[in-house]
């Protein structure tokens, strides 16, 4: 068993019941193969940094799970087939899954002293 982290982008035009159906479908893809879902987070619809399959926006979903490597293969295959998923990325978490601390978010970014020589053309 290994810990993985998958982040996928759902087509932003899919909302409401259809959207939950997509999520349930991919949840069941994992659970049917005895994967253990550790975390399932919906980030909501965001603007993409660059257009993906002609979409300017996308609905991000993050899922952490424990599974065998064959499960990942099948999960990615199913995402590739489904038109409602426009992009996905799976990472192997070598250190295992650790729940993020609440204090982390509170940590403000500290100042940058570097001067940037790049200029906008």
């Amino acid at each position: 068993m290994r810990t993985y982290e998958t982040i996928f982008i759902v087509n932003p035009q899919i909302v409401g019941d259809e959207y939950t159906a997509v999520l349930d479908k991919f949840k069941s893809v994992l659970t049917d193969q005895n994967a253990e879902i550790l975390k399932f987070a919906e980030w909501g619809t965001k603007r993409l940094a660059y257009p993906v399959k002609k979409h300017e926006h996308g609905t991000y979903v993050l899922v952490n799970f424990n599974a065998e490597n064959t499960v990942v293969k099948e999960f990615e295959r199913r995402m590739r087939l489904d038109d409602s998923i426009i992009k996905f990325q799976t990472l192997l978490l070598e250190g295992g899954f650790e729940a993020p601390l609440a204090t982390e978010a509170a940590e403000a970014a500290d100042d940058v002293d570097e001067e940037n020589d790049e200029s906008e053309e």
Binding site: I7, I9, K46, R47, L48, A49, Y50, V52, G58, L62, K87, F88, Q89, L91, E104, E107, A109, D110, V112, D113, E114, E115, N116, D117, E118, S119, E120
Partner: protein
């Protein structure tokens, strides 16, 4: 003698040292675009180590995180258009 040595070599220096080594509560994560943005130029390029001051280990992690964020459209490959 006329050639008196200058006492202060550099007054206005950049802050030296790796910020991740100095503060080990800071995490490098591709999902946290806000932390990564310090290491990206206006054109979306990764800032080199000689400018950012990162140590080798952390620069490598930052680079990897930026590339992951780019892959999943959290950061752009080229311009300054980023997701917040």
């Amino acid at each position: 003698m006329a050639f008196a040595k200058k006492s202060s070599p550099r007054r206005f220096g950049r802050r030296k040292g790796c910020r991740f080594c100095a503060d080990n509560t800071l995490k490098i994560d591709y999902k946290e675009v806000r932390t990564l943005r310090y290491f990206i130029s206006e054109r979306g390029k990764i800032v080199p180590r000689r400018i950012s001051g990162n140590c080798a280990i952390h620069q490598r992690k930052v680079t990897e995180a930026i590339k992951r964020a780019r892959n999943i459209a959290l950061l752009s490959f080229t311009s300054n258009r980023t997701v917040d």
